[in-house]
């Protein structure tokens, strides 16, 4: 035990050093969890659907429900034009959800508690959505920053606000997920420390930890949902170009 800092759990540990042309591509504890997520999600969804039953069993039902959950989300928020982007949205949801949930296992590592990862995901969404909007609407895309019925006098004030709020999207999107995951895990660690420190009276924080853990399970699912649903909304803006 090195120390009791609640932030120690977020430490990146290099398991295998892999320098490629001066870039550090080391296999870390984070990479291990990502690979684990990849393998687990692949097995979960492939094996769950392997029987291709007309009347699904429990496992297949969960897979199908996940599919329909994301499909409904995309259909409700974007409409039929969004179907092309379904594989990406589905992968995004599964990846974030798996990272969040597996991160809650004791001694594991929460990939999504790092701003680098969440910002990268948000940036992919942001850039992708912007490219889709530009591709579909060309220069008309920039009318998105001019709210309809805007008086000319207010334009110099409101247009920059619109632009800034648009540019802030990847920041808020990534910060929300990162902050939620980090805060939850830090809190669990802090109260975990109390359990040890208080000895016999440790049962009080222990009960609290159980409650927080349940809350964190909800947060893990909720934040995956929020990230995905916001991606859908941004996609909708890009495709339909309306406020």
């Amino acid at each position: 035990m090195k120390g009791h800092s609640p932030l120690e759990q977020f430490e990146i540990v290099r398991l295998v050093d892999i320098p490629i042309g001066g870039v550090d591509a080391s296999f870390t504890n984070s990479s291990l969890m990502m690979v684990f997520v990849l393998v687990l999600a692949t097995v979960w969804f492939s094996v769950g659907m392997s029987r291709r039953a007309i009347v699904p069993g429990r496992w297949q039902s969960v897979v199908e429900l996940t599919y329909e959950f994301v499909a409904d989300m995309l259909r409700e928020n974007v409409g039929n034009e969004g179907r092309r982007y379904f594989p990406f949205v589905f992968t995004l949801f599964v990846f974030i959800l798996s990272c969040n949930l597996l991160g809650l296992l004791p001694y594991s590592f929460t990939v999504t508690s790092h701003i680098a990862v969440t910002f990268a995901l948000a940036a992919v969404v942001f850039v992708g959505v912007t490219v889709i909007a530009l591709f579909r609407h060309g220069f008309r895309f920039f009318t998105f920053f001019v709210p309809p019925g805007l008086p000319a006098v207010l334009a110099p004030l409101l247009v920059p606000i619109e632009v800034i709020s648009y540019l802030a999207r990847p920041v808020t999107l990534s910060l929300r997920l990162f902050a939620n995951m980090m805060a939850g895990h830090t809190m669990l660690k802090v109260f975990g420390g109390f359990v040890v420190a208080l000895g016999l009276f440790g049962f009080a924080p222990f009960v609290f930890i159980v409650a927080i853990y349940a809350l964190e399970l909800i947060v893990a699912v909720l934040q995956a949902y929020v990230f995905t649903v916001l991606t859908c909304l941004y996609l909708n803006d890009a495709i339909h170009l309306q406020h």
Partner: protein, 163 residues
């Protein structure tokens, strides 16, 4: 805060790219088509079954209608046959009655004729007897021999007066 250690960004981002793209390919190429297949197959089966059930329901309704029609037909047939039979019986009874009436009338007429003939015959006999008797009486009383024609005329005259 370990999250701000910029030296750790590169390995995270590289492995994020690798695993996310790999997961995307798995989902896009393997998992999602399989789920879509199963869902479509199920939808198709449900649709087919519903269509089949609808067809069967229509057939059942048709059979029911045919049965009802046959029943109504049979009932109508039975009613007609009953009425025909009743009419036939009634007609036969009427015919028999008429025949009987005719027979009675004929027999009546025949017996009337016979009675009339018998009466005529009897009257004829009585006349002859009366004539014979008149001749015999005349012979005994006055000893005159009255011939047949005279006697007959007298008898006829007397019996005409009786009437």
């Amino acid at each position: 805060m370990p999250q701000l250690a910029t030296a750790d960004f590169a390995p995270q981002l590289i492995w994020l790219a690798i695993t996310f793209v790999a997961l995307y390919l798995v989902m896009w190429r393997v998992v999602l088509p399989r789920i879509v297949d199963v869902l479509e197959e199920r939808q198709r089966r449900i649709h087919d079954d519903l269509t089949a059930a609808e067809g069967l329901g229509r057939e059942a309704a048709k059979a029911d209608a045919a049965y009802e029609a046959a029943r109504a037909d049979a009932r109508e047939n039975a009613r007609r046959m009953a009425s025909e039979t009743r009419d036939a019986i009634k007609k036969r009874a009427a015919d028999g009655e008429a025949e009987l009436d005719a027979t009675f009338a004929r027999e009546n007429a025949e017996s009337d004729a016979r009675i009339r003939a018998a009466r005529e015959e009897a009257r004829e006999h009585v006349r002859i007897i009366a004539i014979d008797a008149a001749r015999a009486i005349a012979r005994r009383l006055i000893g005159a021999d009255v011939d047949d024609a005279a006697a007959a005329a007298a008898v006829d005259a007397a019996s005409a007066g009786d009437r």
